[in-house]
């Protein structure tokens, strides 16, 4: 057992810190968010050059042999800078699912170019009625010759507008909400019959509503096995959750640092407001919450490759509960301690608060994951 970072991992951490410091000053981020794509191709090219797009993949798959700890290190720094480049949907979700479940041909056609920075992905799982149930899928894929025809709707698909390929969770058999009978398809982002309504999200990312009107795909578009896509998407989402927790940890560190600085300098009643015990104790609670978030993120990053799927699921859900709780506490406290300035667009605080709030909702909120964890933990 060893919980210290290797020298290579420390270098990676410094590299990511440097990227955020150089490229993601608060005003610079504002400009990136206002571009048409909502992220910068030159930054993406830099990710490829630094090896970040391939770091978590095996050498066999064209990667550099790292894993969840490398993802954790980079995502944490992305959280500190509120980085907008679509690393989570492309690399963690899309790339990860293709690496674990894709055919040799799919890996060659998609994963290798992704690692070079030439392809981007999106995962389309959510529908209007789904809430947090990954199996609540009604978009239908029906047999059409050797291939399939997809019809239905998908919502809040992050990075769909920039994605070269969209991984779509579709029902090929079974009844509503049944895990069995779900299949993943890799669909060209410009496929005929696929239409998008693009929009920005609360936290300055980009997402889309997708309508599939008899979108034709070949048999080779199936990711994994027909009717058995649920386990693939559940595992992929659990891994994305762990990466998201690392991002949230970085957000919490940044928002706590901003708040600490503010209460040391803002004067009321003739003294810095940080001299008041009621604020000191609240600030300590923020600090403790961020520590717990970091601990749970580390735990989940260490366990997400475990052989036992129950261990993996508990790790992801346990961490997501903590991130939801800690993120809300740090976010709400930061706004409160900043007073009126905390609710303005001008300061970074409200932007971190918005991101932490959306992270809680993503892939299931605190309550959803508490229920999931509880069901797994009480069964033993």
């Amino acid at each position: 057992m060893d919980l210290s970072l290797s020298d290579e991992q420390k270098q990676l951490q410094e590299q990511a810190e440097r990227f955020v410091r150089d490229k993601y000053a608060f005003d610079a981020r504002r400009k990136i968010a206002a571009t048409e794509r909502g992220w910068l191709p030159e930054n993406w090219a830099q990710f490829a050059e630094l090896g970040w797009l391939g770091m978590s993949f095996s050498e066999e798959d064209g990667g550099y042999g790292g894993g969840p700890i490398e993802t954790m290190i980079v995502m944490e720094q992305f959280g500190k800078g509120l980085v907008l480049e679509p690393f989570l949907p492309t690399v963690v979700l899309g790339g990860g699912m293709i690496a674990r479940s894709g055919s040799k041909a799919q890996k060659e056609a998609l994963l290798a170019p992704m690692i070079e920075g030439k392809k981007q992905f999106a995962l389309a799982w959510l529908e209007r009625q789904s809430r947090y149930n990954l199996a609540d899928v009604s978009l239908k894929a029906t047999k059409e010759g050797a291939g399939w025809s997809l019809s239905g709707h998908k919502g809040v698909v992050y990075n769909a507008a920039s994605a070269d390929h969209i991984i779509v969770l579709a029902r090929t058999a079974g009844s509503a909400r049944e895990p069995k009978g779900l299949t993943l398809f890799i669909v060209d982002g410009k496929a005929k019959g696929l239409s998008r309504r693009d929009y920005p999200t609360q936290d300055a990312l980009r997402a889309s509503e997708l309508t599939f009107d008899k979108v034709s795909v070949g048999a080779d578009a199936v990711l994994g096995k027909v009717d058995e896509g649920f386990a693939v998407v559940e595992d992929g989402v659990d891994r994305a959750i762990v990466a998201l927790c690392a991002e949230a940890t970085g957000c919490m560190d940044a928002i706590n640092a901003a708040t600490l600085e503010y209460i040391k300098t803002r004067k009321q009643f003739g003294v810095p407001i940080g001299k008041f015990q009621v604020l000191q104790h609240r600030m300590v609670d923020c600090f403790t919450n961020a520590q717990e978030a970091r601990s749970m993120t580390l735990m989940a990053s260490l366990k997400i490759d475990d052989k036992d799927p129950v261990v993996r699921a508990k790790a992801a859900s346990g961490a997501k509960v903590q991130i939801g709780k800690s993120g809300k506490f740090c976010g709400q406290s930061a706004v409160q301690m900043h007073g009126g300035m905390g609710v303005t667009d001008e300061l970074s605080v409200s932007h971190y608060f918005k991101r932490l709030t959306m992270i809680d909702l993503m892939f299931g909120n605190q309550q959803h994951h508490l229920t999931r964890y509880s069901n797994l933990a009480m069964a033993a």
Partner: protein, 398 residues
């Protein structure tokens, strides 16, 4: 970074498990498993077995006669002891005064006091708090006046845990009444058999006797019993408190406690079904289990950083805060699981270990006394509000 044990660590874990199974007296194990109270002899038998093996002072470095465990070994040792229902090691000698003596004491003191702590042949207790000095510890007034080769000690200490079983007490005493509060304090070792010491029980809300008031009336203490320099005892005091706080997070005990709570929730009925199937109650347990996991990994991170840096820093105050809150939540949920059968108060069974039949299951009558007693955890070792003050000042710079 790797969570898995190395082959050496796995071998060590097997060794610890075998040792505990072979050396923990069966009656002591049963008492711990069933939540019964332990006597002095129960603790001593187990601690002396550990002492012979060299593991009682498992946090000590090799050069002071400890085993020099790595953080991983320390984690393994603590967890296996808890899993096998070993009693908690009494910290006053092993985790408090021992490290103070090997850090600040002279060679004679090391030669005289460390071996009996390592082997658990002497029982130590703590003389810190006073009736007028709780959270404001530095305001303490028990005074020690020099008279030739002796100090004459007068005053009183309170919240003295298990002092009625102790051979020795370590005390913070005022040696310079004119100096600033922190600057006139010294750290003194006192034989409990010295004439002039009176120990008076304090009965707690659960009806038990674990703490005392200790009175000092012209108690003669050799100057040789002063640890460190005169008037520099506050340095020892702070050093000791940081060590104490690391221990009282009680992570392995809380992990064991969550499993015991699940067992109770499986045994208790709720509308004809096991209580554990009640979704809202199950989620309360799940939430607590997640809190324990967060604390466990925070402690592992602290231990891991200590492996390179040595002593715990002020961040351990956070462990004390969360650890104590979790212990309280555990007793609260256990009482909630037991429900109204927490009400019967059976002092004979609880305190004297008589054969009185329990009312309801054995665990039921323990739930409320535990809950009442455990309110102490957020108060002792520096109240949680004091811990927040420490973090605020030392970590956040407020």
């Amino acid at each position: 970074m790797d969570l898995a044990f190395t082959p050496e660590e796995q071998k060590f874990a097997d060794q610890v498990r075998a040792f505990v199974k072979a050396n923990l007296p069966a009656d002591v194990r049963d008492k711990v498993k069933n939540g019964k109270h332990l006597g002095r002899d129960d603790y001593m038998r187990w601690q002396q077995a550990l002492g012979k093996k060299g593991w009682l002072v498992y946090t000590w470095p090799k050069k002071h006669g400890g085993p020099g465990f790595t953080p991983a070994q320390r984690y393994i040792f603590e967890n296996i002891c808890a899993e096998e229902y070993a009693p908690g090691i009494i910290p006053f000698g092993t985790k408090m005064v021992g490290p103070v003596i090997y850090t600040f004491g002279n060679e004679e003191q090391k030669a005289k006091y460390l071996d009996p702590i390592r082997l658990s042949t002497v029982w130590w207790c703590q003389g810190y708090s006073e009736p007028g000095s709780g959270s404001d510890l530095a305001s303490l007034r028990t005074k020690a006046e020099k008279d030739g080769d002796h100090y004459i000690v007068n005053g009183s200490k309170t919240w003295n845990t298990m002092g009625h079983w102790a051979d020795w007490i370590f005390c913070l005493v005022r040696t310079d009444p004119k100096a600033k509060p922190q600057e006139g304090i010294s750290f003194l070792l006192i034989d409990m058999k010295t004439p002039g010491i009176t120990v008076k029980p304090i009965i707690m809300a659960d009806g038990g006797h674990e703490v005392n008031e200790v009175f000092f009336d012209n108690v003669k203490v050799p100057v040789a019993n002063l640890v460190g320099k005169e008037n520099e005892g506050w340095t020892c005091a702070k050093f000791l408190l940081a060590n104490e706080r690391l221990g009282i997070a009680a992570v392995p005990q809380s992990k064991r406690g969550v499993e015991a709570l699940k067992d109770i929730a499986r045994a208790e009925q709720d509308n004809g079904r096991p209580l554990i199937e009640n979704k809202s109650f199950a989620e309360k347990i799940a939430d607590l289990e997640i809190q324990v996991t967060a604390l466990e990994y925070t402690e592992l991170r602290v231990l891991s950083s200590m492996a390179h840096g040595g002593q715990p820093g002020p961040e351990v105050s956070g462990l004390k805060i969360r650890g104590s809150e979790i212990q309280q939540r555990l007793t609260e949920l256990t009482m909630e699981a037991v429900g109204e059968y927490s009400a019967p108060y059976l002092p004979g069974l609880l305190w004297q270990g008589t054969n009185e039949a329990p009312v309801g299951p054995e665990y039921a009558h323990l739930a409320a006394p535990r809950y009442f007693n455990t309110r102490k955890t957020t108060i002792y070792g520096g109240s949680n509000e004091i811990q927040k003050g420490i973090i605020s000042k030392m970590v956040l710079g407020l």
